[in-house]
């Protein structure tokens, strides 16, 4: 906040040439525009889900579909429990990512390494949860083109429900996977002192933007599929 307020007297200077008018590094600005385009992709997916749901008479009740968790005794159903664990895993890994970016700004290599490792663990934990859930649903007979669930009112349900679920959570899961790969590369580069040599940790910031975006998308996917 303080930087923007102090920047306003210099605003004319910002556009006077010789420096970035956005007061930001090129790669970071481009990462923002990439994420904006990705937001439109996810938005298109979620809005088409909404459109199809609005154009259908019945829809499965998410509390009856997503009610299992690992090692649950037979017959015990707990809607929302497993997905809330997944949500918190992603929020916490987002926090450790912020701490890694913060440590990078202070040129604190140890802090970056520690928090990047925690972020990677969080990402892998989330992916494991998602793999378990997909596997569980598959064994219940749910897959692309196959929907074993009934609508909430007991009428037959179309395969739209499972098609959208697997496509959108799959696309998000693929983003989480790419994020983990990017974070691992960032960790290796940090350990190799690449950023110490460059004199800045801006790459961690860019990886951080991507990782937060993955968390941001999950906020929407989680709410739309499991709560609404």
């Amino acid at each position: 906040m303080s930087t923007t307020t102090t920047a306003s007297p210099n605003e004319a200077k910002l556009w006077g040439g010789g420096k970035s008018p956005f007061n930001s590094e090129y790669g970071k600005v481009m990462m923002w525009y990439f994420l904006m385009s990705d937001a439109f992709t996810f938005g298109a997916f979620l809005i088409s889900y909404g459109t199809v749901r609005f154009s259908t008479n019945g829809w499965p009740n998410s509390n009856e579909v997503f009610r299992s968790f690992p090692f649950a005794p037979a017959g015990v159903h707990a809607p929302l429990v497993f997905v809330s664990i997944m949500t918190f895993i992603l929020i916490i890994s987002s926090v450790t990512m912020v701490l890694a970016v913060h440590a990078g700004k202070n040129m604190d290599k140890q802090g970056v390494v520690r928090n990047m490792i925690l972020t990677i663990i969080g990402g892998l934990a989330f992916l494991s949860c998602q793999a378990w859930e997909w596997n569980h649903l598959f064994h219940e007979g749910a897959w692309w083109g196959s929907n074993p669930f009934l609508n909430a009112d007991g009428t037959a349900s179309s395969t739209n429900f499972t098609n959208f679920f697997f496509t959108i959570t799959g696309f998000h899961g693929f983003h989480v996977f790419s994020g983990v790969v990017i974070n691992i590369i960032m960790l290796i580069m940090t350990l190799m002192d690449k950023f110490e040599q460059r004199g800045h940790y801006l790459m961690i910031e860019k990886a951080g933007l991507y990782w937060h975006f993955v968390d941001l998308v999950w906020v929407f996917v989680f709410t739309i599929f499991y709560l609404l």
């Binding site: 906040m1 930087t3 923007t4 920047a7 008018p21 956005f22 007061n23 930001s24 600005v29 923002w32 525009y33 904006m36 439109f40 938005g43 809005i47 088409s48 909404g50 459109t51 749901r53 609005f54 154009s55 259908t56 008479n57 019945g58 509390n63 009856e64 809607p79 929302l80 809330s84 918190f88 929020i91 987002s94 926090v95 990512m97 912020v98 701490l99 913060h102 202070n106 064994h139 219940e140 007979g141 083109g145 196959s146 929907n147 074993p148 009934l150 009112d153 007991g154 009428t155 037959a156 933007l209 937060h212 975006f213 968390d215 941001l216 906020v219 929407f220 499991y226 709560l227 609404l228």
Partner: protein, 168 residues
């Protein structure tokens, strides 16, 4: 020298305090969402359900704001940069409104003119175990015609556990 060092320290503490604050806000909002979700499970009133869903959407937008503004640091960027990102995203306002309206209108048209579509929404499907299993096997077979080994294992699993509850 020592002055700038102190400045740096103060700025550091401020940033950490902000991260803590946003973490707590995100967690609290998520917990509220989950409480509302649990509350909704046993609810029958359609109006109240709709109101809760609206509240959940508002909480979702608030969480998105905190992630973008503080974790992604957009609030601390130059105003022009913020505008080049936020203004195009305003298209979503039209995007969501228009498409949900269209979906709703399509449902109404089909209920008016497509009798089969309307009828399907009134026929309750048998929830009996046998029927359900049969339907599922059909679906699985159709899906994995070429993957023999795969649905053999699926069959074996279901045969071994005939006491699986109906999915509904």
């Amino acid at each position: 020298m020592s002055h700038s060092h102190l400045d740096h320290e103060a700025h550091n503490a401020e940033a950490i305090a902000e991260i803590k604050k946003v973490t707590i806000i995100l967690s609290v909002f998520t917990v509220i969402e989950l409480i509302l979700g649990f509350w909704m499970i046993s609810m029958t009133s359609v109006g109240l359900k709709l109101a809760i869903k609206g509240t959940i959407v508002i909480l979702m937008m608030a969480k998105a704001f905190y992630i973008v503004a503080y974790f992604m640091h957009l609030k601390h960027e130059v105003k022009n940069l913020i505008m080049t990102i936020i203004v195009p995203l305003l298209l979503f306002v039209w995007f969501i409104g228009a498409f949900l309206w269209d979906g709703n209108s399509f449902r109404n048209l089909r209920n008016d003119y497509d009798t089969y579509f309307k009828e399907q929404a009134t026929i309750k499907v048998e929830k009996k175990e046998e029927d359900h299993e049969a339907v599922k096997h059909e679906a699985t077979d159709a899906k994995h015609e070429d993957a023999e080994a795969k649905h053999e294992t699926t069959d074996a699993k279901h045969d071994a556990k005939p006491a699986v509850e109906p999915y509904y």
